[in-house]
């Protein structure tokens, strides 16, 4: 049995958790076992149906009023207790802010190893074999775990969603006892970024800007281009971030975020080794740069040599036409 922790935000299961569940389903089929979804919270049974639609063979709900708000300590306690009893072969998490916060605590509580931010999962000798980029993508590690259950976090946007299946099953609810004083830290407030943009790690299309943009005001050009696509975000090179043109949460590359969107636009980005490491796993890369020798063209599938201030608005215009058709 492969279990997947289903992360919820604003009363909805996150897409990256459904991706992890889809992958669990595929690997469980290979291993001849089941894929189950595990929800943690207070009164979240209603979210079980979404997990069945994504292919879960079973849904477990770990419930306690003390788990209404996310806390790494409370959630880890619930999940580790469940895993010790249910004995799944593996527990997978999406490598999101919450998954990265929570999975190590669960691993430490169970005394088992964890593989972070996987981009591939295979079955080898009855166990899972994980592939993950290290050095922000400058190298690729494959590994397995000697300990059980096998714990891993899976990078968002990499694993395809399975087809929705009509199906329902039993939701098994388990009441969790969270002892008084066991949770010494908790989330008190969630602050949304005003722009409402989605995070670069979750975006399917990223439009990134670098020093070639010459100033913060010119990121507007990129926002216009990005706005043409659903699930898009604006990214940036380190030099643009360090110049104070845009917040560091937009930075792509080593000391920023590693991303794998379907389409990546690098606009006025020269292509420093740190940036290339963070975006080279994008499916299609488009570069716009006035310097034909810029290293970014070495990794780009398509490039335009030209003045971005001329090219980008024209590109937006053409894309708008194409997308409207």
């Amino acid at each position: 049995m492969i279990a997947v922790f289903m992360e919820t935000r604003d009363g909805k299961i996150k897409k990256s958790s459904l991706e992890a569940l889809s992958e669990a389903k595929r690997r469980a089929a290979e291993l001849g076992g089941q894929a189950v979804a595990v929800l943690v919270g207070s009164g979240v049974e209603g979210l079980g149906s979404g997990s069945f639609a994504a292919g879960a063979d079973g849904v477990y709900v770990l419930d306690s009023p003390a788990l209404a708000d996310y806390s790494a300590q409370g959630y880890a306690l619930a999940l580790a207790e469940w895993a010790a009893e249910a004995r799944p072969a593996a527990v997978l998490f999406a490598a999101t802010a919450m998954g990265r916060d929570l999975a190590p605590r669960v691993a430490a509580r169970l005394g088992v190893g964890l593989v972070s931010d996987c981009t591939g999962v295979a079955v080898m000798n009855g166990k899972l074999e994980f592939t993950r980029p290290i050095y922000a993508g400058k190298a690729v590690l494959t590994c397995s775990l000697r300990s059980s259950p096998q714990l891993a976090t899976l990078r968002p946007n990499v694993f395809p969603l399975g087809e929705a299946v009509p199906g329902a099953g039993e939701v098994v609810r388990k009441d969790v006892v969270v002892p008084d004083g066991a949770v010494k830290g908790r989330v008190t407030e969630v602050l949304k970024e005003e722009s409402c943009e989605i995070d670069v790690t979750e975006a399917e299309v990223i439009v990134s800007g670098g020093r070639g943009l010459k100033g913060p005001e010119n990121f507007a050009l990129l926002r216009e281009l990005a706005a043409l696509f659903p699930r898009s975000a604006v990214g940036a090179s380190r030099s643009a971030v360090d110049s104070g043109w845009i917040g560091h949460q937009h930075q792509v590359g080593q000391t920023g975020k590693t991303v794998s969107p379907s389409l990546y636009f690098a606009v006025g980005v020269s292509g420093a080794i740190q940036h290339l490491a963070g975006m080279s796993s994008s499916k299609v890369i488009v570069a716009v740069n006035k310097d034909p020798e810029a290293p970014i063209f070495k990794v780009a599938d398509y490039g335009i040599v030209g003045d971005l201030f001329q090219v980008v608005p024209l590109l937006a215009q053409e894309l708008k036409k194409a997308l409207a058709e």
């Binding site: 929570l102 999975a103 190590p104 088992v112 400058k138 590690l141 000697r146 008190t188 894309l319 194409a322």
Partner: protein
């Protein structure tokens, strides 16, 4: 306030990574090693907290003898004391192994610590595991990937980065906090700091002292392969009239790449 900062020695981010396939390890010769960049934010935050609240900043690194160089740099930045947990093992990519060493060291060597600061991940292994694992092993609360930290009266409030925003986490101390870029602007060492750091002793803590036997720290991660990713082929580069190139590019994205 008693603050512990944990740092790691890593190749700088300019490094081109090469692999030694027979040992499934990266080639270290010729690389320039530095304090992992996120760890510098942790050191800086510790120094600022000391300036505001008083106390002691101790910096700890687990690793080979060579890690003394990054510990000395942290002393030059202004840390009061530095310690090396001597671990001669090659990189295991196993966060729990490191977390167990650190948690044991905190219990045995550094009782009375109020705050444990880490970088959000080491640049290299990119695990983001050790801070939360240490917190769990010690039964402490945590805030990871933190861009703002306030400490007062035995409690802390941290802002941690999440997708499309931030969340505020309230923690009682002692607690574990891992630093994200944006938390602060790390200071440079001063000449005076460098001179003073040279004279300081960096005590070594052995794994035996921490009560670990030869097999106690066997890694749970089994490395089956290590390679560099396949190089991307450079594609079609268009030059000429901006309107023509834009039109041509969109046609390619639509008909060839099929992403539009």
């Amino acid at each position: 306030m008693n603050i512990l900062v944990f740092i790691k020695r890593v190749p700088d981010t300019e490094s081109k990574i090469r692999i030694r396939h027979e040992t499934k390890a990266i080639v270290e010769e010729g690389l320039n090693f530095v304090i992992s960049p996120y760890d510098e934010f942790a050191i800086e935050e510790a120094l600022r907290l000391r300036e505001a609240h008083g106390g002691v900043v101790r910096v700890v690194s687990a690793g080979k003898d060579e890690s003394v160089a990054v510990l000395r740099k942290s002393l030059a930045m202004g840390a009061d004391e530095a310690f090396l947990i001597k671990d001669a093992a090659p990189e295991t990519y196993d966060g729990l192994r490191t977390a167990r060493m650190i948690a044991r060291a905190v219990e045995r060597k550094f009782p009375g610590t109020d705050l444990l600061l880490f970088g959000k991940q080491s640049v290299g292994a990119d695990n983001s595991q050790v801070p939360a694992m240490v917190a769990e092993l010690l039964g402490l609360p945590q805030a990871t990937v933190v861009t703002k930290l306030e400490v007062a009266h035995g409690a802390a409030t941290a802002c941690r980065e999440i997708e499309g925003g931030a969340e505020k986490v309230a923690l009682s101390l002692p607690a574990v906090v891992s630093a994200q870029k944006g938390l602060n602007e790390p200071r440079y060492e001063t000449l005076k700091g460098i001179m003073a750091a040279k004279k300081k002793d960096i005590p070594v803590v052995t794994l035996e002292e921490l009560g670990f036997g030869a097999d106690d720290l066997a890694p749970q991660v089994e490395i089956t392969g290590l390679d560099v990713p396949a190089a991307r082929q450079s594609g079609k580069v268009l030059q000429g009239d901006p309107a023509d190139t834009a039109r041509e590019l969109v046609a390619l994205l639509r008909n060839e790449a099929k992403v539009v």
